[in-house]
């Protein structure tokens, strides 16, 4: 007995999506859990130690929601396999199966399978209050007898019944249902239709026998009427009806035309929030880190260590933290939409057009977020359950024109247009966005055709989605989920972004050549500027830029553009400041943008007298920025979210060569038409 107490048990929570599993897990863990990837997979599970006050030494695992023990996709297979034998924690001593009391005719299916597979099962009956609203109640003793395992009613939001769930858990661990029974693994091919149908027939019988009308003492009847609990013994025991409020709201939100109207309103609000609300916060972070970097730089002085600390380490940390406002806002909104039940409906509305290019209705929100920033967008793709569709969504997200490209486009458009025709710039920007949408659709379609080779999965594309009843979102749940998404980003993608930023810093700093020109008579700022200019022009990035000169020539550009493109790998908007450095622009007299444009207009290729920047090459650059993936943070997050380097490397190769190819066509095409 003693050694039973000493051992740390493993309890796994299993349940279909929307069965209250995660709510229960949050209660049991006191919201203090770790989120871990199954080895070699992108599927995540959460694990925690059961809170001390429950007096049971146990690890609790919150497994991904599953419908059946027969996996339907590679991700589900990982989740199901881990139930039998968890790669880190072994085989569970107990499975707590969550069942939505108002959904027992569907949710008992998994319980039946778990029992048949030989697991030690305890049923946690959740959402009994929803059933009560229909005037019904379940007799858990009868249900327990029917199923052959214990049943406890719990409410993960209030903690009601959790204590008896824990004492029943200990009881179940000490007296397992099956002793030395070999566990059955269900294989796809052995499962026949009849077996499935029979399980459901069995459950329908159970449902009839254990669900009763809620009979209440006369006194509280009036009180209950107020909180809308009605009992009518004459009425049919109808636990299989949808609540009326949900049906009424859906008449509007799923309406053929109005539904689409509300969908666009909600999505526009989502997009504006991540775009506009996050913007000032991002500027704030940016400014703070700039001040910090400047302070450190001034304290140490002109030395590579000072520069490593300020431009390398501090800026690197800044480039990790800069994404937090967008990630937080996006996940807050997504959490609310998911918790109210709308997200599933939005996915349904937009599924058809997206399915044509191998995506899913759930791809919409991540793709839309991609127009703000690819980092939170790729993370949002986690809501897509189908692996192929998730990978394909992540794959094309870099094609969405993210906000970091705007400063670049604005500079290039400013070059093309005389100041008095600035309004045309708005139209050109719109054209760039529309072209980027069209090209991403076309490319998604093409990649979908080759999906077996490019993203290496061939999931059966399907869209089977439960539309949960509308309910008021729970702030605490949404906040916890957002907090964990940010934490995962910081822990998993943060170090890669940081490391890559330092590499870019090293490339643009070393070998640190000092100005050859005479600096006497120049102000301190001018000297510092001259040093920066000289350093970048003599840096390894410049060497690389010169090395790729043969590649730049066909698209009408030279090594100076090359260096700026390489520097832009830190973040696309760096392209602008890098151009300013390389063309020795100070921006003292006029705005920086106008000064760069002036300098660009004067720039010549070598000593040939031929202009470097022409309308043709500028259009080429715009096209290059539309396609090419030159954002190391995106690469880092893509690596994290897809679980390997395969997809991020393919993304760099495919998108950057596409960018180059289209730039070549644009520049030479325009030249052929006489536009130089």
């Amino acid at each position: 007995m003693n050694n039973v107490i000493d051992k740390t048990f493993l309890i796994t929570l299993v349940g279909p999506p929307n069965s209250g599993k995660t709510t229960l897990f949050n209660y049991l863990s006191g919201q203090n859990f770790k989120t871990v990837n199954y080895p070699g997979a992108t599927v995540e599970y959460s694990v925690c130690k059961l809170l001390d006050r429950f007096n049971l030494e146990a690890n609790i695992v919150d497994s991904p929601g599953i419908i059946s023990l027969i996996p339907n996709s590679p991700d589900e297979k990982v989740a199901v396999d881990a139930l039998y034998n968890h790669p880190q924690l072994g085989s569970p001593d107990l499975i707590i199966a969550t069942v939505d009391a108002s959904q027992i005719s569907r949710h008992l299916f998994l319980v039946k399978q778990l029992m048949e597979a030989g697991f030690n099962v305890l049923v946690a009956l959740t959402m009994t209050d929803m059933l009560l609203k229909k005037g019904l109640t379940i007799n858990e003793k009868e249900l327990s007898k029917e199923l052959g395992c214990n049943v406890v009613k719990v409410d993960g939001r209030t903690g009601l019944g959790v204590d008896s769930l824990i004492s029943e858990s200990l009881n179940a661990i000490e007296n397992p249902l099956f002793i030395n029974k070999k566990q059955t693994v269900f294989l796809k091919d052995d499962v026949n239709k009849k077996w499935l149908i029979d399980i459901f027939k069995d459950i329908e019988g159970i449902e009839k026998r254990v669900v009763h009308h809620f009979v209440q003492p006369k006194k509280i009847e009036a009180a209950n009427r107020k909180i809308k609990i009605f009992t009518d013994p004459e009425a049919k025991k109808n636990c299989n009806s949808i609540d009326n409020t949900t049906l009424k709201i859906d008449r509007l939100l799923l309406h053929k035309y109005w539904g689409l109207f509300f969908f666009f309103i909600i999505m526009a609000a989502t997009f504006t929030s991540i775009f506009w609300i996050a913007q000032p916060l991002m500027h704030l972070i940016d400014a703070l880190f700039e001040i910090l970097a400047q302070t450190v730089h001034n304290a140490i002085g002109e030395h590579w260590i000072g520069d490593l600390l300020s431009s390398g380490i501090i800026s690197g940390m800044g480039s990790v933290l800069i994404f937090i406002p967008q990630i937080t806002i996006l996940f807050l909104i997504l959490g609310f939409l998911e918790d109210t039940g709308y997200l599933a409906r939005g996915a349904m509305l937009i599924d058809k057009p997206l399915s044509k290019i191998g995506l899913n209705g759930k791809s919409f929100v991540p793709m839309l977020s991609g127009f703000a920033c690819a980092i939170p967008a790729m993370m949002a793709a986690r809501t897509i359950t189908n692996k192929k569709e998730r990978l394909l969504t992540i794959f094309i997200i870099p094609l969405m024109s993210c906000s970091a490209r705007i400063p670049v486009y604005l500079l290039l458009i400013a070059f093309l247009l005389p100041p008095e025709k600035a309004w045309v710039g708005g139209i050109m920007l719109a054209v760039i966005y529309i072209l980027s949408i069209i090209s991403s659709v076309v490319i998604a379609g093409i990649i979908n055709k080759f999906s077996s080779r490019i993203i290496k999965t061939t999931d059966n594309s399907s869209f089977i989605l439960e539309l949960p009843s509308y309910r008021v979102p729970k702030l605490r749940v949404v906040l916890t989920n957002t907090y964990y998404s940010v934490k995962v980003y910081l822990k998993k993608a943060g170090p890669i972004i940081f490391f890559l930023s330092i590499i870019i810093w090293g490339l643009t700093y070393f070998p640190d050549s000092s100005p050859k020109n005479d600096t006497t008579g120049m102000s301190k700022d001018e000297i510092s500027q001259a040093v920066n200019v000289e350093r970048l022009s003599g840096s390894y990035a410049a060497y690389l830029g010169k090395a790729i000169q043969p590649v730049m020539t066909p698209i009408g550009m030279d090594w100076r553009v090359g260096v700026s493109l390489i520097s832009a790998f830190a973040a696309r908007e760096v392209f602008v400041s890098s151009l300013a450095l390389i063309f020795k622009v100070t921006g003292k007299e006029k705005s920086l943008q106008t000064s760069i444009v002036d300098a660009m207009k004067k720039a010549e290729i070598g000593n040939t007298g031929q202009k470097l920047f022409t309308p043709a090459t500028i259009c080429g650059l715009i096209v290059f920025f539309m396609f090419s993936l030159q954002c190391l943070s995106t690469v880092a997050v893509s690596r994290k979210e897809t679980g390997s380097w395969r997809i991020p490397i393919l993304q760099i190769l495919i998108f950057t060569s596409l960018g180059y190819f289209f730039t070549f066509i644009t520049v030479n095409g325009l030249r052929a038409f006489g536009i130089n």
Binding site: L196, C239, I242, E466, S469
Partner: protein, 73 residues
């Protein structure tokens, strides 16, 4: 042979069988579309696809081609 894909908004029907040759047929069964169950088409998305059915007290959206494997009596 009438299938769930042929239903109109608000129409009710009883499932007779599930076409086992469809790749999604097992998942359709597992989610609760079993013979004998009554389903109601609650909503169609624009483009008439996917379809939202009321089944066993919940709403479930499936694509039209998946609904086509649900044979009605």
């Amino acid at each position: 042979m009438k299938t769930a894909a042929d239903m109109i908004n608000g129409e009710k029907g009883i499932i007779r069988d599930i076409d086992g040759s469809h790749p999604s047929s097992r998942r359709i069964l597992e989610i609760g579309f079993t013979p004998g169950q009554e389903i109601e088409l609650i909503n169609k998305s624009i483009f008439n696809d996917p379809l939202a059915f009321s089944l066993r007290g919940t709403l479930i959206a499936i694509r039209k081609n998946e609904a086509a494997c649900i044979i009605l009596s």
